[in-house]
Amino acid sequence: MDEITKVVLDYVVKEYIEDGDDREITPDTPLISGGIVDSFSMVSLKRFLEKKYQIQIPDADATPEAFDSVKSIVALLARFKKN
């Protein structure tokens, strides 16, 4: 697992998984469509990524689809980090 994937995965587990919830989260786990993260709570993830990687993710790109798994989030990050 590369460094960015690990950072995002660790944040998702810490921020969204309740104590006592033993679900295993992998880079492919559906987060929003799987009911783990709702769109209301997604804002803290977006803010974390922007702060950590010094980027701006426009609201139009911060879609539930783009945030639906750690893998898709990493892909989104790659796009904005390049730019």
Binding site: D19, G34, F40, V43, S44
Partner: protein, 415 residues
Amino acid sequence: MAYVDSVRTIYQTELKGLKEAGLFKEERYIHSPQAADIEVEFPAGSSARRVINMCANNYLGLSSHPEVVKAAHAGLDVRGYGMSSVRFICGTQDIHRQLENKLTEFLGTEDTLLFPSCMDANAGVFEAVLSEQDVMIADRLVHASIVDGMRLCKAMQDTFKHSDMSHLEEKLQEHQDKRFRIVITDGVFSMDGDIAKLDQIVALADRYNAMVFVDDSHASGFIGKTGRGTHEHCGVFGKMDIITTTLGKALGGASGGCVSGRRELVEMCRQRARPYLFSNTVAPVIVAGAIKVLDLISHSTERRDKLEWNTVYWRKRLTEAGFDLKEGESPIVPVMLYNAKLAQDVARDLFYEGIYAVGFFFPVVPKGQARIRTQLSAAHEKEHLDRAADAFIKIGKKYDILGKGKKEIIEKYGM
């Protein structure tokens, strides 16, 4: 653009999708006043069936109380049917202010402003009192109307894990650079029936210089020893910065809500809250009824005491029978079934046994958390609860779920 066939087809397909996903909501026609016993026509076109109502927010049984109905009649006679105005043009009668003062006293705040509903109060309050310099930190299970209100506000949004005080503390630390921090929670959470840890929230808010907002819609009138709400229950009466609540549940059940709290915050709502500014005043008949409700419950705790007894008794009956209940003390008692279809099947069978209770499943509750939410009322007599418990046990046996916990029910029926 005309409403051409292709447009109609798109909506029809969407509605069909809701039906196929089991998310289509159907109203049931009630042919009687709201009460413990009601007459329900379901499915539409069938003859009305007399059933015990286990799903109303009629916590204190005041929705059809003779003294409330009488007071509402008097209000209609002396102050008319409608005001045909928003509050600030010509829609404020003496009785509106009288009700606001009574709510202020009852809730232990500095001032109160009526709204057409608590949904409207929640939709308007954040935008009226906060700006870009501020942050709203909400429990993740707050009511949908709070989520909508937060989305309308320019302040930064953040959330904390449900009732997780260490997570809230992290968030409060993270946002120390903001002008104002406000912690936002429901008093009693409507789906699980659990009570917010308001004492700990107030302590954290004091430590990190934050305001506290509570929506006490499922608490006002009956939670706490004299029914003032969650803040009374948690020993922090008088310490809330903003309370929103409804007249549409325990407090008569008609409609209307309010923002109650610090004087300046309430005044900001009067000046700026759009649902207050741009919708009609609460009708005089409702105001008169609500004043009577507050008089009744301010002078006696008999009804909330009976509700408390009913809640304890109902929990005892279902627990002894082997149902898997969500822990809690409020009159919201969720019977956990986990599987969405099972929840719907059990609710349907209960209806044919004369018990009206509703199944809740995703997206109203998280996936795999389907349940039947039962709600107690001071209008229930012990005989109602015994009949309802007997019906639950009969249906519980039919589906072989008695004595089974989460793991076993999911093994049998799936998520």
